[in-house]
Amino acid sequence: MMASVYNAKDEDGHISVSGPSGGSAAAMRGKRPENTAFKQQRLPAWQPILTAGTVLPAFFIIGLIFIPIGIGLYVTSNNIKEFEIDYTGVDMSSPCFNCSQNLSWNSSRPCTCSIPFHLDQPYENNVFMYYGLSNFYQNHRRYVKSRDDSQLNGDLDALTKPSKECEPYAYHENKPIAPCGAIANSMFNDTLEIFYHDPNGTRVPVPLTSTGIAWWADKHVKFRNPSENLNLTAAFQGTTKPVNWRRPVYEMDSDPHNNGFINEDFIVWMRTAALPTFRKLYRIISKKDNMVPTLQRGNYTLEVVYNYPVRSFDGRKRMILSTISWMGGKNPFLGIAYITVGSVCFFLGVVLLIIHHKYGNRNNSANNSN
């Protein structure tokens, strides 16, 4: 009895865990260790040994797989047509220069400018229209967290009591802002329209679809209007619009399924971009029929209702037209990377093969000379 008492005390001051049999010397006695594979560290084990024999084929296989994938990616990426216009209006010559100069949030008369452009190739299939911003830190911490997801999810408490994270865009004139926060407040509000110049001189507006641009789950689950049964105006009763907005949130769109918090332009904007230079999907130009390309080769005009100031922080605004492939938008990086890695693997395979042969021989001869 005493022995066990004192073994317990033996560990006194031992902060770290002590051995398994620390206090059980007596218990251990006479007990033969079990002869199980686990306890004897003899579990059956697979002992892979990376040898030239196994790795060399792997290198070749990787090379053989990666290079075609890379070529495929590269070709795909090259086939994607992309057209980009910077309409910030920094230059004096730019049509939007005037608008960019005398811009104020409160001006009642919108400033418009139109930029002509020419498409060298016809754009087949669906064409996606993006707006791009540069030097705009949507990923700034203060900005990223300045939102209230419960409010956006239709939570009524959060509607009237926006989260503290929204500060200083939570209340305006003692009324809760809906949607609150810096992200919502700074929503992109330029209007972009494209007109096609018919060879016979008429300006034909290109039909733009504004749905299908946001993530499905965002549109249907994450974003929800408060009290969906009510009419939207009534639902947002007691709240005020974000300071920079011209219209309240319930007047975003005439379509009730694209109004309020579930407006897709809004949802797209609310998904903060990863990098300070980013693009966001603005409109989709749907394919009409198989005969005519979606966007024909020819002259176009981009009509901009210029509302969004970026000059103050040295930003840029772009409009991008792009077709899309299975890998997404145009990005040569993946293709090049795959080709490079594939070639490197292949090359390494060859080098290793040579070394292996030479080394193997030398090894043998070394053994012989010994």
Partner: protein, 1122 residues
Amino acid sequence: MLRRRLNRLLNNDERRVDSRTIFVGHRSGSPNDAIIPAKFCDNRIVSSKYTVWNFLPKNLFEQFRRIANFYFLIIFLVQVIVDTPTSPVTSGLPLFFVITVTAIKQGYEDWLRHKADKEVNTYPVTVLEDGRRIRKESEKIKVGDVVEVEEDETFPCDLILLQSSREDATCFVTTASLDGESNHKSHYTVSDIERDLESLNATIECEQPQPDLYKFVGRMHIYKNDQEPVVRSLGPENLLLKGATLKNTQKIYGVAVYTGMETKMALNYQGKSQKRSAVEKSINAFLIVYLCILVSKALVCTTLKYVWQSKPGQDEPWYNQKTQREKDTNIYLKMFTDFLSFMVLFNFIIPVSMYVTVEMQKFLGSFFIAWDKDFYDPEIKEGALVNTSDLNEELGQVEYVFTDKTGTLTQNNMEFIECCIDGFQYKHRDGSAEMDGFCVPDGPVSKPQQKAGREKEELFLRALCLCHTVQVKESTDQNDDQIDGLVADGEVSLQDQRGFIASSPDEVALVKGAMRYGFTFLGLESKNMKIRNSNNDIEMYELLHVLNFDPVRRRMSVIVRAKSGETLLFCKGADSSIFPRVRQEEVERTRTHVERNATEGYRTLCVAFKYLSAEEYRQADEGLREARLALQEREEKLMAVYNQLETGMSLIGATAVEDRLQEEAAETMEALQGAGMKIWVLTGDKMETAKSTCYACRLFQRNTELLELTVRTLEDGGKRREERLHDLLNEYHKKTVQDAPPFKGGVTRSWSCASQDYGFIIDGATLSMVLNSSSESSSHCYKNLFLQICQNCTAVLCCRMAPLQKAQIVKMVKNSKGSPITLSIGDGANDVSMILEAHVGIGIKGKEGRQAVRNSDYAIPKLKHLKKLLLAHGHLYYVRIAHLVQYFFYKNLCFILPQFLYQFFCGYSQQPLYDAAYLTMYNICFTSMPILAYSLFEQHVPMEVLLDNATLYREIAKNAMLRWGPFLYWTVLGVFHGLVFFFGVRYLFTNPALQDNGQVFGNWSYGTIVFTILVFTVTLTLALDTRHWTWINHFVIWGSLAFYVFFSFFWGGIIWPFLSQQRLYFVFANMLSSVSAWLVIILLILVSLLPEILLMLFRKRRGPNARQPSECDLLQTSRLQL
């Protein structure tokens, strides 16, 4: 602890006095003295650390005293106070987990201690009070109480034996739970105590409590009605220790002298100083590097942030205004909080979980040692014992092995081989020994038929029969048992040797040897030794005194009175201590035998005797009694009397006892040497014996050049010892250090016959000359020379060592340049000091009690197990934990580096790249299990190969896997991975339209892609390093990855009501719906793993040659034969 300190404080004034006075039964000694109630601590044993009330604060305080915990607490507090990018939960949760688990564990252990304490403290005891027997709880015993103890009960406190139910006023105890000796020891009552304890009026004066179990000095004053008080000396033989058990005795009464925490047992259990492994030092060094990285990252970011913000329009663009409070904050305060925020953001680089994982690994890993069936010894029916799990990996780092000889290298199983009487050699032959048969001289030295006179032979055998402290087992009458007999060879109970119990196996061997020649020792009956001689007559000798054995004198004597009335002194001891004390003309005849026996590896003892005249005896008797009564310096006084007595003896003969080598001792030693360990044999034995053991163990080989530095070589030159020492040291130094071919690092140095091997021999006396040389400067210089010589010798033998010197040597080597890892292995009490001193202490569950085992870090049944313990277990543990540590730092570096790089793209705003859930779960769930499984089951080289090729041990010598080289490699790998993850995805995101419906990805998708690549790469890197895939590894590695995918779906699949932001909602699923994301993930994982695969390929190139030299050799030999 606190209690003890308090007690100490209370007893402070008393403590200054070096003795305490105890009133037996609380009755004042002489009638005119009143009792001054002295304050002694009560008999409560407190081993618990906490009470219910102070558990929480005290435990938390203790836990946060650890630097790591404190660091995490600070980070957590910063997160709570300052507006930081990650929520306090991310660091609070893991910290809380760690703290709680530790607290629960410690609380449970303390509860067990409480329970044990309570059991001990409330154990009922019987106390005599005013003539009545009162049952009391053990904790209520006070100093001075007379306590009754019955058979098979343990003593509740340290008692002075007053009365025993046995007739001969003795009692028997076993101290199995104290020092592991299970033999019965007899203790004596104080003489002259009347039967009636009620009327006993006595005081005891004794020293203050001290932890030495075998030392006690005291004095008892017995007052009888108006007479002069009688004074009796008290020694350890009168003291019954708490924890010992009463045996073979119905009942005893004793007076409590030390109680509670002052008992010798309690004093002995004051925690051992905790040993820390070298790996932990490496971890701390790496931690500092990472801390520096962390701080510099935070500094860089803070600086750049303010540089960046100074550009107009950047700090506060119109779309991202600050709150009023932020605007009002002082700029310097803001800078500081920004710095803290960055620290918090990057703090994951130093993971909480590493400490948990390392502890778990050590704890769980140590089970494998205890479970190993190869360590099971069927003889003692025990396997290995792990006393601490902190040092597992240290077993793979041992550079110096200090081993005891007796009982460790040798079996300590003595056998009487031959003897030499009066210069004639007698060898025993197959038990056909009758008195005449015995006298068959043999061997080349003595001529056949030549015999010593019969008288001499009988005298010699009588001496063997009388001069010992052996007990006969069956009879209850036992010999005077010496507790101090244990010194040189420790305490031994040789119960398997039929009939005899002794403190040293030599004695049993001698008695049995004598028995074979016809002289049987029958036992001790009331101070009379009974011998049956060769004629079957019983001879009786009255035992007058025993002059105990001790390692300084190296001899023991008995004084007996024969029937005829003549008084004889028999003395036996080491040749060096006997020869100077006998007539010189007798020495030469015996010396040749002794030396020849010693070189053959036998333990030799010389036997001498002398007649004492009545006058001489009277003087001796007086001197001895006086010395034994002395309260102070008793030992010294006794020694003086002993020395005075043991002179002018005549030599009868010498004995040779063989101590057989342990099983596979030579193979083990050879393997250890092959593994690059330097083996030092530290023994108290004489040089010749030890040397022959070394040869037998193949520590010294035929071509080993022996450098001797002993008293003998010092005396050879005819110069002064000091000068000679100086010359010799310089000469040896020149030979071994300066002339030796320079070798490239200790690791690659060949141990083959290519270079001359040196063996070094030094003895205790010379060693103390080296270490404590007269002049300060030369001492230092000698010490250095000595160390350098020893470091260049393959084996070192230190003989004639006192236990303390052993520890001294270990300490010296331990603190020498490069602070090598030392291991001590021993089995006896005399090895405890060196076991405690060395980095790793190994106890052998040998015959010499359990002291060594109790004080060791690991205990194994046999020496041969050391090979597997070091070469297989130690090697694997080291590789495992080293990989674990490096991997942990690596995986957190490449975890946090992308987050750092992201700051350059988000305006240094401390925006985290990963979601909080990922930040928290990364180390807890996603990547913790595979590395734990790896660190438990990895066998990069199969155990058999490790055991067969001792040289493999050199590959990990000197902490090879945790040096700056490998650390740099892992760091570079981590940085490379981090860069690949971040920039690979960054270039993908130049066009964030990654879905085939033209929709774009945001920042959380970015983070999730990086994180997915990270988790997979980190896990697969480990998979690449895993050489030993058991099903557990498979399960855990693939399971972790599956769990990550499952968790991500789950986490992103639900709008979590308790989250303020649904950042990851559907992000993972969306990511998987993008082909580009898939492609980039696959590509980047492959790119990250490529360098590792390549390196492994090149590393393997060297592999097969280094790993299977035997195969090469085989090839070569077969070629040669062709």
